[in-house]
């Protein structure tokens, strides 16, 4: 048997907040407890999905000659776009869609914009 995994600790804590603490609270404290439980759910999804996000970044970095050791790939891309050293093309747009979908899958998979994007870009977030 292994020790309790990080995701299991998060889920147990979230269930405790939601099922045992929250019913005893009201008003601002209840609201904050709901926010706290949701934060734990975000962290749990990030633990699971961050490797996929990193892989997307590494692939585009390789294609565009970006050195990930020099800072976050997204930041380097943003600065190149700002300085107009990089123009938006189909491949970059595809990456941005993939990356943003993955972020939403972590942060808030119930967000209406995410659901719309999944619908519009299905099956692959290529270019319209």
């Amino acid at each position: 048997m292994s020790e309790t995994e990080a995701g299991e600790l998060l889920e147990a804590t979230r269930a405790f907040l939601r099922d045992e603490v929250l019913p005893q609270l009201e008003g601002f404290s209840a609201y904050n407890t709901r926010v706290a439980a949701n934060n734990l759910a975000i962290v749990a999804r990030e633990l699971q999905l961050k490797p996929e996000l990193d892989r997307l970044d590494l692939v585009i970095a390789g294609e565009l000659g970006i050195d990930p050791a020099k800072g976050p790939v997204a930041q380097q891309l943003a600065r190149r776009l700002r300085d107009r050293e990089l123009a938006l093309d189909d491949r970059l747009l595809e990456y941005l869609k993939h990356r943003t979908l993955k972020l939403l899958e972590i942060d808030n998979p119930r967000y209406s914009g995410y659901l719309q994007a999944c619908e519009r870009w299905r099956p692959e977030p290529g270019v319209e």
Binding site: V35, N39, L88, L103, S112, A117
Partner: protein
């Protein structure tokens, strides 16, 4: 009630007793009751209280920065926000121009010992978006709200600039986009989608339009609503001078539709109703295509608000849970921006 809030109730009683009540001065026994904190971050506080004078009860709201907190000497707390006395002055001016707003009863002065802020009437109504969008008793209100928002925005935009207090942000479009770029840079250029959106806004920048008072945060959540519709416009802290179309785009932002994507105006109404209400008061309304530019602007703006929240948390200025959590909503703006920029148009 804790000792701390007892002291605060006494200070509030003294402040209100000494304020100008016209020809109906309060009785000696008048006082503040039912003081309770509603919400807010670590610094900005919102309180509910009742002014009880004989048999009469006046429900009130206090917005304040307590003494000794960042911003308490008067400077703004959120990037782009105005200080509380300026906010109170704008609300008073809006009221005198026929905009439905709470009545400002008292602007706090140093001798009140309560920090910086103001007290206004607590109007009856609902501001929680999910209740406004879901509760059956607001069904008629939902039918009218988009049109009423249009009417109200036209009134706000018609407020004479000369009547407004000094200190409101007033930038040309060029300078305003520079401001957004400076914010993205200062927050470390975290998002290529935000940068893409700012480039998009630069490349499609409209000719300088009209100038007017822009509410800056006019959306479902900052609108007090009853069964008949709009009761009062709240939360004026982001008000500034700019292109009035900003407000019309803002109220249609996807993040403020709360899941009702088929109802672009706040999740309760259609573009046509918003513009019809605007036209009824102002005599003219923009074309629908003009709004999309401002929807992109406002989606980027939401991303910047999220980044500002993260920054407030990281800097230690405001360590509240809410600040940290809102910071994580940045990706909502990114997906909305990608969807908006992809639609055919300008």
């Amino acid at each position: 009630m804790t000792n701390k809030s007892t002291d605060m109730a006494e200070l509030l009683t003294a402040a209100l007793a000494g304020s100008d009540w016209g020809d109906s001065p309060p009785a000696k026994s008048a006082g503040v009751e039912g003081l309770r904190r509603l919400s807010g971050g670590a610094n900005m506080e919102t309180w509910s209280l009742d002014w009880v004078d004989g048999g009469k009860t006046l429900p009130l709201i206090l917005r304040r920065l307590p003494l000794g907190t960042a911003g308490a000497s008067g400077e703004a707390v959120l990037v782009g926000s105005i200080d509380l006395p300026t906010e109170a002055a704008v609300i008073r001016q809006a009221a005198s121009c026929g905009v439905s707003v709470p009545r400002v009863v008292l602007v706090l002065q140093p001798e009140h010992g309560l920090g910086s802020g103001y007290i206004m009437t607590r109007e009856r109504g609902e501001a929680l978006p999910f209740r406004i969008l879901a509760d059956a008793k607001y069904a008629d209100a939902r039918e009218r709200l988009a049109y009423q928002c249009g009417e109200t925005l036209a009134r706000i935009h018609a407020i004479p600039l000369a009547a407004l207090p000094p200190g409101l942000r007033d930038l040309s479009m060029d300078r305003d986009l520079d401001r957004l770029q400076a914010m993205l840079d200062s927050y470390g250029n975290a998002s290529p989608v935000h940068q893409l959106a700012l480039n998009w806004l630069r490349d499609r920048q409209p000719a300088e339009g009209g100038r007017g008072l822009v509410h800056g945060d006019f959306r479902n959540g900052n609108l007090l609503v009853d069964e008949q519709g709009l009761v009062a416009v709240l939360d004026w802290e982001l008000t500034h001078i700019g292109n009035p179309l900003e407000d019309l785009g803002y109220v249609c932002g996807n993040v403020w539709r709360f899941g009702r994507t088929d109802k672009p105006v706040g999740g309760f109404g259609q573009y046509e109703d918003l513009l019809a209400g605007y036209r009824a008061v102002s005599g003219a309304a923009p074309a629908l295509e003009e709004l999309r530019y401002w929807e992109v602007y406002c989606a980027l703006n939401w991303g910047l608000v999220c980044l500002t929240m993260i920054q407030m948390y990281r800097s230690g200025q405001d360590r509240s849970l809410e600040r940290a959590a809102v910071g994580r909503r940045m990706s909502e703006s990114e997906i909305d921006l990608l969807l908006l920029m992809e639609e055919p148009g300008p």
